[in-house]
Amino acid sequence: MTRTRWLIFFLGLAVSAAAEEPPAKPDSPASPAPAASEMGPAFSLRRIDFGVQGVETDTNSSRFREYRDVPTGIFIPFARFAGDERFRYDVTAENVPQSAARYRVLAELGSIGLRAEVIKIPHRFGNSGVTLLEDTGPGVLSISPTLRQTFQGAIEQQFAANRAGVNYTFLSSLVNPSLSAESPIDLALLRERGQVEVRLTRDKPYDIRLSYFQEHRRGTRAAGTSFGFGNVVESPEPIDYRTRDFGATAEWTRKSLLLRGSFHYNDFANKNPFEQFDNPFRATDSTDPSAYTAPASGSIGGPAFGRESLPPDNKSVTGSVGFLYKFAKRSRLSADATLGQWTQNDAFMPFSTNTAITTPVRATDVSSLPARSLDGKIRTFSFSSLFTTRPADHLTLTARFRRYDLRNDTPRIAFPLGYVRFDAVWEDIPRVSVPYGNTTDAFTASAAYDFGTVSLEGGYRYDKWERTFRETESTGQNVGFVKADLRPSDWIVVRGSFEKGSRDFSGLEIEKSEDASFLNPGPPSNLLAVPSATVCPGGTVCNLRFDQSKKDLDRYGAFVELSPGGKASLTFSYVKGKDRYTESLFGLIRADNEAITAEADYTPHERVNVFAFYTRENISTLQRGRQSAATVSVNPLDDWTSEIKDKVDSIGGGATFGLVKEKVELTLNGNYQRVDGNNHFTSPVGGAPEVARRTTGGITDIPFFDDTNLYTLSAELSYHVTKGLRLGLGGWYEQYKLRDLNSNDITEGVLLTNYVPGSFFLAANDHDFKAHVLYVRASYLW
């Protein structure tokens, strides 16, 4: 059945149901109901929390204030004004007037309901980053032309005298004096969101709502902008995004039938369609076949500046209709269908900024492009239906089906002459864009029976993926599951679950994905696109990507909750997941995770509460690669494996003590998480990876792969002066430490240098810190 027919079917069903009879009036009570005044006087609440706070940190790491403000001085964490004298209203404000604030308004006037919210969410990526680039216009980051000319001249001189001398030692001595003279910059983003929803028909059998959402994101973030293999220039990417969403939803209820529909128009606009960034080592454009490796012994060419596309403006329109029908035996049938369309048609930028590239086309000229914009279009269709019933007292049957179809109707654009690599050199490799699409189907059926003390559920789930332009036509996954709940008494709950499944693929064409973006595909360059017979033993397909390869999966779960006497509760839980890519020898082979949790809560009397939890997670993955030179290696000695193991300990706890009844209270809290991550490598003796490391210490594990420590301790002593006034004295301490692969030479939050071989890094500080916060605050209610 076509989508249109489906929609007609559901719309017809909706209309016919709606046309049956007018909605019945709600039953009115047979006897007089209590008057509103019997609830006491009209509800009215005024509350304001305010205080004074001192903050001390040992570093300027952004991590401490990543998503929050921790102000020094006067702060207002919470205020609320609510009442229902003439109409119901509720106004709250949090963290006034900080950059991480939230304001919320709720009002009900007759049949109109209003809900509005303004929220500001900061995201601080790093402080005191260092770069030669300066913001000189929308999306334009520049370096002094004089400085670039100086660097270019020095490099040209060295290149002429001794090519091999254009190396890290030379370049770092060239740039470090300038880097050390730069002013630091902070990288941060602020999301400012506002949304309002108007409910037009409150307390009616039909519900109509209109909504509007707007968000402005602005700031900078670290971006990997590069001129090639030997000249990465990390930059502060400018962000100035606006998103708007207009929505309308409607719902109509008539006894057993509920009809619903919605419409949304969403619009994303980026004020900076591209980022332009100067090349520190060049003031003039040049090109040569090795320019993408410059500056090095092979080339010192390249562009004076580069340009990178930033997210283009886009739009989405979505409409949905659905129904729910309830009938005998607690049966419910629901179905919803949603159609969507996403479009994008921003103007393309030229092939390159490099004026030296003039053949086969003038790369800086947009008229050289085969198209001026994408005219991109994706159509989505989703359908979900659920049927549940209780044919017998204790038996529940449920069936669910979902389809999600993402049809990418974006035209394929061919670049028959090739493209420019890193604004440095024309690559005569004809390419064509690939509009990936997919369709997923998911069917689940389950039966549950409640025996009283024990309830059991068993079921089956089938997931199917159909993909376009990928190695396989489809993958299908079958999963069986059983779950059991045991309630031998009021204070004991035991839950268990087990899932087992497997995935297989069909329609394999292993080169298809790699070939899709080449007009003239040559031999595969990815080991995972090589015909399986070349690298796989025994007729298996051992080199299929993990999202499509054969897979076995197991999931176990257990949960025990004991709450004897109502004063204490103990909880234990265990979950384990195992993914085995059963025939894979390359790529991801295994992914395991396990978590065990113990938790206790004790309330001996109303003035004391103590709780604590501990979770241990063991996370492990194994993957294998094969190192290749210009062509894909068929030598197993070139293989390498990476086995990553993370052990994560999470501890939390707290206590509340009523020291003087209804007067003095002490609250303590603490959280701690420690991650111990290791990456263990292997590679056979005699293979390329091992041979390359014979003079540098051999294959070396990374024992500090992602080691982190984060803990927070807090305490507050509060005194209830009157029923409406509470004073609090408190403080907290937080500490964070990181040792990881990507930044292991960072000492106390400071990178030793901003220039490392082949790269300028901002090295903005988001690392270790210790912070102390002390505050006095009052909470006043009236």
């Binding site: 995972l528 993990f546 999202d547 839980s573 984060l710």
Partner: protein
């Protein structure tokens, strides 16, 4: 089309049921005799005060809306000094609690409660919500934040939420309900969108595209690379770069090369393919790019 035909199964089953079974019998509540809330308040001061200012306090039938006719309950107390019959939510089974609440709330998001995993695992509305003693500013939850409610069962997610790389849930800017609808049994993982990607794209609209150069796993599922609940790697990545990328990209030359401790900043052979943002140092537009010269997502 085969999959679409599968859709007919539950629809047809349901329609068949309509024909075979009787229509649901309308259950008319027993009309309460006249009573005063203040009568309830005499013994139940805290619960009655606790619901002040809430929609429940403004129900026409007040306490009787959920607890039934209190007449016999009070009469017995006054005349015999012992508690008379009353509908007690605390003594109800989960299913009975849900039926009580859904008598009014079986609409909007709650209309998809039936058949969902939370219902099937024996949870009730009062597992999370409280009419008389709630601590959240929205949705009358038993805890001040929804995550605290969810973490009572989803303990592994709590541990993930404590990770360095996380969505601002523990800071209170987002909450579990920002992405999940705990009432909705129709969606996998109770995601409050038509797909995982559509949920992510509702905030990360800049990644919606379509793009000239797309990245297949991005278009299919954000979860191929990210763990939205928390991660020990930047940007909530499921693994650290370059190893994450090397799960798929084992190409000739640099993508398939081994990067071990030798190649880190402390190693003897530092490479910009293993430090800081690793692969993303050059392939920045990994979510899709719109530059004609960006087939490798570097422009």
């Amino acid at each position: 089309m085969k999959g679409l035909r599968l859709a007919l199964i539950p629809v047809a089953l349901g329609l068949l049921w309509v024909v075979v079974m009787d229509q649901a019998q309308a259950q008319k509540d027993a009309a309460p005799a006249s009573f005063s809330v203040n009568d309830c308040r005499m013994c139940h001061e805290k619960p009655v005060t606790g619901m002040a200012g809430t929609p429940h306090a403004r129900l026409e039938m007040k306490c009787a809306s959920c607890h039934g006719d209190p007449t016999e309950h009070m009469k017995s107390e006054v005349e015999k000094g012992e508690l008379g019959p009353i509908v007690s939510i605390k003594k109800m089974k989960a299913d009975e609690v849900n039926q009580t609440c859904l008598a009014c709330h079986d609409k909007a998001r709650q209309s998809n409660w039936g058949g969902g995993v939370h219902e099937r695992r024996g949870l009730s509305c009062v597992s999370c919500h409280s009419v008389h003693d709630f601590h959240s500013t929205q949705a009358q939850l038993k805890t001040s934040r929804d995550s605290e409610t969810c973490f009572t069962c989803h303990t592994q997610i709590r541990a993930k939420g404590m990770r360095v790389s996380h969505h601002p849930v523990r800071e209170g800017a987002l909450n579990c309900a920002s992405c999940h609808d705990p009432h909705d049994g129709t969606k996998p993982k109770m995601i409050s969108a038509e797909s995982v990607n559509e949920k992510c794209l509702s905030c990360h609209t800049e990644k919606r595209g379509p793009f000239l150069w797309e990245h297949a796993p991005v278009r299919e599922s954000c979860l191929n690379c990210h763990d939205p609940h928390g991660s020990n790697h930047e940007k909530l990545l499921a693994a650290k770069q370059p190893y994450l990328c090397q799960r798929c990209h084992l190409n000739t030359r640099h993508p398939g090369t081994l990067y071990d401790g030798t190649n880190t900043l402390a190693g003897r052979s530092v490479t910009n393919r293993a430090v800081e943002h690793a692969c993303k140092n050059c392939h920045q537009n990994v979510h899709g790019g719109n530059a004609p010269s960006g087939p490798y997502l570097g422009r």
